[in-house]
């Protein structure tokens, strides 16, 4: 196995050299090694379509997968279906009887189980940036939905795509299911025996040569266990490494405080927010995302009626890669990542700390931006905050600290606490020294805990080869991944929903992580492994965790377990939040390195918004859900601005060879509006070799050119055109508007056609705060923005006299993070269709976040619009359905009756919002066992040839109605929560009864800013949008000539 493993390694490195060149053979090899089910349709088609080079080559022909069709099992089954179909055609369908179904009752039924009623458990999802407290819906003890814990002070119920996606991660059929020893099946006892005997030898030497390499340790218990172990084996070493880590922040805090510290921002108190490449609105990659997003949004809901500025905050963003944060910002300045340190220093100087960096020159716009931001900050001392980017240099963090300190924000909008992660460390340096020890042959036992360094370590470290020098490598992980395949021992790990552990959230509040289900494949957790170093090796994780928190979860009166049970019930342990450190630390801003020459090309490495550093590469939902900003599904790309595109003389879809200090990678080009010129962003986490059937071979592996010295961004890259072309699965068409003014364009040719149209058509309506104060009715002024009278129709309107369900979406709060989309996938059993189908435009998601770019695509403003079925009262789709498969309910839902649908697709044609989705092929997976466990039992799984769409989560409505009817009462406002609403971290989505004047939704609909999309064609949508209001800095706007046009 070792040798074959090395072959693998070398084969891989060749492939890496060839970038995403034909990796098929290796892939096949890897898959052969993966012990998992095979031939499951869904997965088969996925990895067939997942953008392997062969496939891409075949894209030119219309139908790539046909070659293989006849031999795959589907078609054979297909033939049976065919027979069935033809019988049916003979008119027998009405009379074909369904086969016998069996009932498997319990032998001993659990006491508290009521079949058919879901149970909710609180736990937490340990993410490197801090625990995300969640509430898990469990049906017959199968977790079927993960959502934010509404009672937790930090998330307040919000979640994010990754948290939602961890559900599919749990049921991923490609998870490693066995312990492997040199490729053969091993057993836990055998491993323990050999491990302990090894330990016994090491005891004498204090654990010399015993190394642990773990992903960031998030569990205080694990930390405690390790500290005990360290005591027992003083010479043993623990190295933590995640390719996306917080080294800059830690280094900065170490410099400032002499000890590691975390910054905790309180945006509810901030009137002015300045981000220095900090993307705090896209997802969990930013520590405290949920709280930050929620606090940010509450200050933009304009609900504090009337007076003054409505308590609205103002957001300035400086960033390199375009992010939702930047696009939501009132003012945005794109800068190369390498310039931001300088900019931060300059900003600091402008507000009176340190001195402006020498030799830095700013563009005119940037200069104006700098001055007015500084001015605004100074004007708002104590009410402002500067947030440095996690993926920015130490300098930026120190500058931010200094500015916040100078402005007196510390203690008000930002506090410093001890670190959320129990064992903070500078991971990059530790990894380097580990590799040094590996190469020096100092390492005898290397135990890798939930990390995948062979894939994700910086290329220059050659981790794979270094690891080859170790006698025994043990790999614990959910998947038998690139690292596992090279290890002597692979131990299948447990998912966080399967095992006991604990973790701390943003503010330090600790949560106990409790298992929702028995380990599906009898996996083992890091706790067990570390525990086996101690003299009581068999202490279970449960006991360890209880022991950690015993004094916080004490007895109450006679009830010994009260505190513990409360902690489990609430999902967090009361008052375990950190106390703020005093003062802002003594941050001195280091002089930034000289500004990189204007014509140099820099590469920025960022975690992928969906699959993060690659650990979620096999989660179909996350692969398929289009990334924010780029709308790119199933791939990563070399992201750059249109200007850079021209400068490099390449076009979108071109495959280029990016060379960075000697290392090369092939990457297809995709333009990103507003991206900083002269730099290319590469998303990490793609190009996996052994992720599984979904994730393997998707995209290219950016780690191949990442170096340990400059892991965040690096200047001095060169680019070469290869002549190949790559088909992207971009879910929104993006054209530039080349129309002359005469035919409705803007004549510039640099604006987005879709964007211009969206504004002209009144789909997007917004105003600046000033305009809003002048014209509160702005959302209804101008052509195409008036609502037809009910009498416009030649028919009398239908009366809805009991409940009338409706939804309101706040365009100000929506940050386009896609949490709602993934949540909808989980709630409604939505199928993953694979790259080819997405490319053809057949993505199945019921809700999507439409992104419209406005203005010059070099520095655009964007608008995010969550779009799902609008449940029009005059639903165009219903009228044209020949079989009445989609009809209106007495409560105004536009229901889709799957089992009545014959699939004419007429409804989709006639839907002006194009929110209907059609099962063009058999998309739902009826075979894979693990996925059956995951499905929501209250929603039908749609088969081939059937239309589907958002149902306002009718299953939840019906459940609530039954509950209410039993008690002969009306449904309370807020009693029904749709899946998207539940997931939304910013409460942008509100659902309820619009006949009830006091319901939140009807209050929102009464707001003057509330408007319906395409209302003027008299569809009477039940979903309405609250128009956006921007709190712009008028001086800056004037200076930069923004909003010249819009001032209506």
């Amino acid at each position: 196995m070792r040798d074959r493993g090395l072959e693998m390694g070398s084969a891989e490195s060749q492939d890496m050299a060839k970038g995403n060149g034909s990796a098929r053979l290796t892939l096949a090899e890897v898959r052969a090694k993966l012990a998992g089910q095979t031939g499951k349709k869904y997965w088969r088609s996925i990895d067939e379509l997942a953008g392997t080079p062969e496939f891409e080559a075949a894209l030119s022909q219309e139908f790539p997968q046909h070659s293989s069709e006849w031999i795959d099992p589907v078609s054979r089954r297909g033939f049976m279906k065919m027979m069935g179909a033809s019988m049916a055609l003979a008119g027998l369908a009405g009379c074909t009887k369904q086969p016998d179904e069996m009932i498997y009752p319990y032998v001993k039924a659990p006491e508290d189980l009521v079949l058919g009623k879901p149970v909710y458990f609180a736990t937490a999802f340990p993410f490197p940036t801090g625990a995300i407290p969640v509430l898990v819906k469990s049906d017959a003890y199968r977790p079927i939905k993960v959502d934010g814990n509404p009672e937790h002070p930090i998330t307040k119920g919000g979640s994010d795509p990754i948290t939602q996606g961890t559900l599919l991660d749990l049921y991923d059929p490609d998870r490693s299911q066995h312990i492997l020893h040199r490729g053969e099946n091993g057993t836990w006892p055998v491993f323990q025996a050999s491990f302990r005997s090894a330990l016994a030898d090491k005891k004498a030497t204090g654990g010399e040569g015993l190394y642990f390499l773990s992903s960031t340790v998030t569990s205080p218990t694990l930390a405690a266990q390790w500290k005990k172990a360290q005591a027992a084996y003083p010479k043993a070493k623990l190295v933590q490494y995640d390719p996306v880590n917080r080294d800059s922040a830690y280094a900065a805090s170490k410099a400032a405080f002499g000890d590691y510290a975390d910054a905790q921002y309180k945006l509810d108190a901030a009137d002015v927010i300045v981000t220095l490449d900090a993307d705090f609105l896209s997802g969990a990659a930013q520590p405290g995302f949920h709280k930050l997003a929620k606090d940010y949004a509450t200050r933009r809901k304009l609900e504090s009626a009337g007076s003054g500025d409505y308590g609205m905050n103002r957001l300035y963003a400086v960033e390199s890669m375009t992010t939702t944060t930047g696009l939501k910002a009132d003012h945005r300045q794109a800068l190369r990542a390498s310039d931001i340190a300088g900019f931060a220093a300059a900003l600091a100087a402008a507000v009176g700390v340190g001195s402006a960096p020498s030799g830095y020159t700013w563009s005119d716009d940037a200069q104006k931006f700098l001055t007015s931001v500084a001015k605004d900050l100074k004007a708002n001392g104590g009410k402002s905050v500067v947030i440095p980017g996690e993926q920015q240099s130490v300098g930026v963090h120190l500058a931010a600290m200094a500015i916040n300190d100078a402005l007196g924000n510390v203690g008000k909008t930002v506090v410093y606490t001890e670190t959320v992660n129990p064992l903070p460390s500078i991971q990059g340096d530790d990894l380097k020294s580990l590799v040094a020890d590996l190469n020096a042959g100092k390492v005898e036992w290397l135990v890798i805990l939930n990390a995948n360094p062979v894939y994700s370590a910086p290329a220059d470290l050659q981790f794979g080869d270094a690891m080859g020098k170790v006698k025994t490598v043990v790999h614990l992980g959910l998947h038998n991944d690139e690292t596992g395949l090279l290890a002597n021992w692979h131990i299948n790990g447990t998912h966080y929903l399967e095992a006991w552990s604990d973790a701390r959230a943003y503010d330090g509040t600790a949560s106990v992580i409790q298992p929702m289900i028995d380990p599906l494949y009898a996996g083992h957790s890091a706790h067990e492994i570390v525990q086996s170093l101690l003299d009581n090796p068999d202490v279970s994780a449960y006991d360890a965790v209880r022991d950690t928190w015993k004094d916080k979860t004490g007895a109450k009166g006679t009830d010994a377990d009260f505190g513990w049970r409360k902690a489990l019930h609430d999902g967090f342990i009361a008052d375990t939040a950190f106390a703020p450190k005093g003062g802002g630390g003594k941050a001195s801003i280091p002089a930034p390195a000289a500004q990189a020459p204007a014509d140099s090309l820099e590469i920025i490495f960022r975690p992928d918004p969906n699959v993060y550093d690659g650990r979620y590469a096999n989660v179909g939902w996350l692969q398929e859900v289009p990334r924010p900003v780029t709308n790119l599904s199933w791939d990563n790309a070399a992201l750059m601005s249109y200007a850079t595109l021209e400068k490099l003389g390449v076009a979108e879809h071109d495959v280029i060879e990016v060379t960075l200090n000697g290392k090369k990678v092939l990457a297809p080009v995709l333009a990103v509006p507003g991206h900083a010129d002269g730099s290319i962003t590469l998303h990490l986490g793609h190009g996996r070799q052994a992720a599984g059937r979904v994730g393997s071979g998707v995209g290219f592996n950016a780690y191949q050119i990442r170096s340990s010295d400059s892991p965040l961004f690096a200047t001095g890259a060169t680019v070469k055109k290869t002549g190949d072309v790559w088909g992207f699965a971009v879910t929104k068409s993006h054209y530039q508007d080349h129309r002359s003014v005469a035919v409705g364009g803007d004549g510039s040719g640099t604006h987005s056609l879709e964007g211009n149209e969206a504004i002209d058509r009144g789909i997007i309506r917004y105003a600046t705060l000033e305009e809003f104060k002048k014209h509160p009715q702005f959302a209804h002024e101008g052509e195409g923005k008036d609502v037809p009278e009910p009498t416009t129709s030649m028919f009398p309107s239908y009366r809805y006299d009991h409940n009338a369900w409706g939804m309101s979406i706040d365009m100000n709060s929506c940050v386009g993070c896609n949490a709602c989309v993934v949540s909808c996938y989980a709630e409604n059993n939505i199928a993953v269709v694979g790259k080819h189908q997405v490319t053809m435009g057949r993505i199945m998601q019921w809700i999507r976040v439409d992104t419209y770019y406005e203005g010059d695509l070099a520095a655009p403003r964007a608008h995010f619009q969550p779009m799902a079925c609008q449940h029009c009262e005059n639903a165009p789709c219903e009228q044209v359905c020949p079989v009445g498969a989609t009809v209106h309910t007495p409560e105004g839902l536009n229901t889709m009756v799957y089992n009545r649908c014959v699939g004419t697709r007429y409804c989709s044609n006639n839907c002006p919002y194009k929110v209907r989705r059609f099962n063009f092929l058999l998309y739902s997976d009826y075979e894979t066992e693990s996925l059956k466990l995951m499905r929501n039992p209250d929603v039908s799984v749609r088969s081939r040839g059937v239309m589907e769409k958002c149902s306002y989560c009718v299953q939840r409505i019906t459940a609530t109605k039954i509950a209410a009817d039993k008690e002969n009462r009306l449904i309370r406002d807020g009693e029904i929560v749709t899946a998207c609403q539940q997931a939304c971290p910013t409460d942008a989505i509100v659902f309820g009864n619009i006949n009830d004047g006091d319901s939140r939704v009807s209050k929102l609909k009464r707001q003057e800013r509330s408007y319906g999309v395409l209302e003027d064609i008299n569809t009477r949508p039940r979903t309405t949008y609250v128009a956006e209001v921007l709190n712009i800095n008028t001086e800056l706007a004037a200076a930069r000539g923004e909003f010249a046009a819009e001032n209506s």
């Binding site: 435009g841 020949p882 209907r916 059609f918």
Partner: protein
């Protein structure tokens, strides 16, 4: 039409009117009967027929394969997607139905207008109608996601207590098309009964006699029968006329009733009908010219016919052109609707604008040649023109279906459409099926109605007593 430029001694010119004759001179009841029935009753089939028949059969088989694959995999094998959820299937459907219309028009409307010249072409025009409807009717069924549930579109007492939804134009189609098919077949068959009698009486082989005998239902040409028969034909014609107009109107409703910009327009019914006749006549010519050559029917299908059909095409072509013009006018200026405006701009200059210009060229520009009489009188040229027009009319439907759908209301969900090999296979396959059926028809049924030709011979004129007595004398 002027006669001077035509040579006076041309036998095909009527010395009195100077017009092109409908039938070449010198034909008797017998010769007509002989000439037409021989084609069917001849014991040795021409090789050319076999060749064509086999070729057509082959292409039809491709259709079969395509459909089987479709049922195996689902409509996903086509290029249809969101937003373009209708593609080739519906385009072909409309196209074929349109072609069918000429048959009914010739047999019904021209009958009502007492256009004698129609007689020699109406039989195979009707046959063409039926086969076209067969090809068309297939599409609504196979294009749905779950074809095996197609019967849900008919109102029948199901155990689910649910019924079709009568507000949907698609359901109107079901009734329109099924009615159209039924009536066309009946009309066709009724019209054939006397000729089947002839075949029965002229065929030598027992089997032929037996088959034609049954089909002729024992027709014996009683004048009483003839009178009822004539009434029935007239009534059927009278019914088929509004029917044929309604059918394409209803089909245009599929689009006109929807709210998609480019579909939602009131001018569709008339210009769909005109378009249908346009393409229909084109197809009649496409068929007539080779047949008349192959079976030497120049006497029955004369230049007069071709010329007239050319005129009809020109006329309908102009109506269609007017339709396009109106569309442009309405969307660019008159409607003052942003949706309409953008739709038309996009249709002409969007990524798929090329298809619009193809259609303009084939349907408006080139057919202007039909003004030239010489052109109309030249079989080869007009045959070519008919092909061009058929292409153009196919593209008209492509433009309507695809270029309206792929960019409609919400810019975020604009898409595109790239036909797959299965789209093409299905379309070409129907062409095969159509010709396949047509070959069977010309081999086993009289493609020109003998009884009606006889009626047009000069001998058919009842002459007064006097001549008769003299005639009786010798």
């Amino acid at each position: 039409m002027a006669t001077k430029d035509a040579p006076v001694n041309d036998p095909m010119l009527d010395p009195v009117t100077g017009e092109q004759r409908v039938i070449a001179p010198g034909h008797t009841f017998k010769s007509v009967t002989e000439k037409i029935s021989r084609i069917v009753l001849t014991p040795h089939t021409p090789l050319g027929w076999f060749a064509g028949f086999t070729l057509a059969g082959g292409v039809a088989t491709m259709l079969l394969v395509a459909v089987v694959w479709l049922f195996l995999r689902g409509t996903g094998i086509w290029a249809i997607t969101i937003p373009v959820a209708w593609g080739f299937a519906i385009i072909n459907f409309v196209w074929w139905i349109g072609i069918g219309h000429a048959g009914t028009l010739i047999s019904a409307i021209l009958l009502l207008f007492k256009q004698g010249w129609r007689n020699s072409i109406n039989r195979f025009a009707e046959a063409m109608t039926i086969f076209a409807v067969v090809c068309a009717g297939m599409f609504p069924l196979i294009h749905v996601g779950r074809p095996w549930l197609g019967y849900w579109l008919f109102p029948y007492p199901s155990s689910m207590n649910v019924w079709p939804q009568f507000r949907s134009p698609l359901l109107w189609d079901v009734f329109a098309v099924s009615t159209y098919a039924t009536i066309s077949v009946v009309f066709w068959y009724i019209g054939m009964i006397p000729d089947l009698g002839t075949l029965r009486d002229r065929s030598k082989s027992k089997i032929a006699q037996f088959m034609y005998g049954w089909l002729a239902l024992g027709w014996r040409g009683s004048v009483r029968h003839w009178v009822r028969y004539e009434t029935a034909s007239l009534l059927l014609a009278g019914l088929a006329t509004p029917l044929v107009l309604s059918v394409h109107t209803v089909i245009s409703f599929d689009f006109a009733v929807a709210l998609v910009p480019g579909w939602h327009t009131t001018i569709f019914p008339p210009y769909f009908v005109a378009g249908a006749i346009y393409s229909g006549f084109a197809m009649v010519i496409t068929l007539a010219i080779p047949i008349r050559k192959f079976y030497h029917l120049e006497d029955m299908i004369t230049i007069r016919h071709i010329d007239n059909m050319g005129k009809v095409m020109l006329a309908t072509g102009l109506i269609v052109a007017y339709g396009y013009a109106t569309e442009v006018f309405m969307s660019y200026w008159y409607s003052a609707s942003h949706w309409e405006y953008f739709m038309m701009w996009n249709r002409m200059f969007g990524p798929m604008g090329w298809s619009y210009w193809v259609l303009v060229t084939c349907n408006i520009a080139l057919p202007q040649l039909l003004w030239i009489r010489k052109f109309r009188a030249n079989p080869a040229l007009i045959f070519l023109m008919s092909l061009i027009i058929n292409t153009g009319m196919w593209f008209e439907r492509f433009v309507i279906v695809v270029t309206s759908l792929y960019r409609d209301y919400l810019p975020s969900s604009w898409g595109t459409y790239r036909a797959t090999r299965w789209d093409y296979a299905t379309f070409v396959g129907t062409l095969g099926l159509f010709t396949f059926l047509f070959f069977l028809f010309i081999r086993f049924l009289p493609m020109i109605p003998m009884s009606e030709i006889r009626m047009m011979l000069p001998q058919a004129k009842i002459r007064p007593e006097a001549e008769l007595s003299h005639e009786a004398g010798d």
